[in-house]
């Protein structure tokens, strides 16, 4: 009986491929966002508050920025969690770091969304 290829015995929590893919998809979204912001930032003309705030006042820019905030949070969660999993062995400490990471990222994401939508 074959146990490899498409017939392999699948074991584990199954989050490996999902996170690997999410890491790349969120990375592409953030890279696109970087180019979009840079393109508007480098437009000719003096850069003051009006032009800077004007970039993020556009509805499509709010749409994209919101997606990027969530992407960043997920991307940073996967990356930071991997670091803790690789270097921190004591279970209690690792759990504490995971909780800290989640609180840190969710708090920052909420703050950024608030900034984005109050202007």
């Amino acid at each position: 009986m074959s146990t490899f290829g498409s017939k392999r015995t699948v074991v584990g929590a199954h989050y490996g491929l999902r996170d690997w893919l999410a890491q790349r998809v969120t990375a592409v979204l953030m890279a696109v966002f970087t180019v979009v912001v840079l393109a508007q930032f480098l437009m000719p003309g003096a850069l003051g508050y009006d032009r800077w705030a004007g970039i993020f006042a556009q509805q499509w820019m709010k749409f994209l920025t919101f997606v990027v905030i969530l992407s960043l949070a997920y991307h940073a969660w996967v990356g930071t969690r991997d670091i803790w999993m690789d270097y921190v062995k004591p279970v209690g400490l690792r759990l504490a770091l995971h909780v800290f990471t989640l609180v840190w990222l969710l708090g920052c994401a909420g703050w950024a969304v608030q900034v984005l939508w109050r202007m």
């Binding site: 990375a27 003051g48 800077w52 940073a76 990356g79 930071t80 703050w111 950024a112 984005l116």
Partner: protein, 145 residues
Amino acid sequence: MTNTTKIKAARPVYRNIHISQISSYRLPPAGIVSILHRISGLMMFLLLPFVVWMFDMSLTSEISYDAFTNAFVAGIGFVPAWFVKLTVLALLWGYLHHFIAGVRHLWMDATHSVSKEQGHSTAVMTLALSVLLTLLLGAKLFGLY
């Protein structure tokens, strides 16, 4: 039989690197890019509240925008301007390195080009480009041009 066991016994054993060996461990360029990808990612994660703070200050109002730009000239609160600029410089390098190393990853994933030579040359390119761009933007940040 005795011959093969002898050869097996002579084989080097590789163990996990101990923290005390890190400085004497000669990493290839791809390894340096890899560990810097982690370090830059962790650094940006830790500085995330500062990034959101800058986002907040620069967007919320003209008054906060002025306070934000002034932080790079006269400092803000008890934090001197040079420290603000130094932190932003660290973020610039982190972002550039993470970005370029990330594109390198995506490119390898998409093209399956993972030969030893390409891994070496793209790693050297990543390091050179990220440092060069950091120096360029850093000079602008510190008002050298």
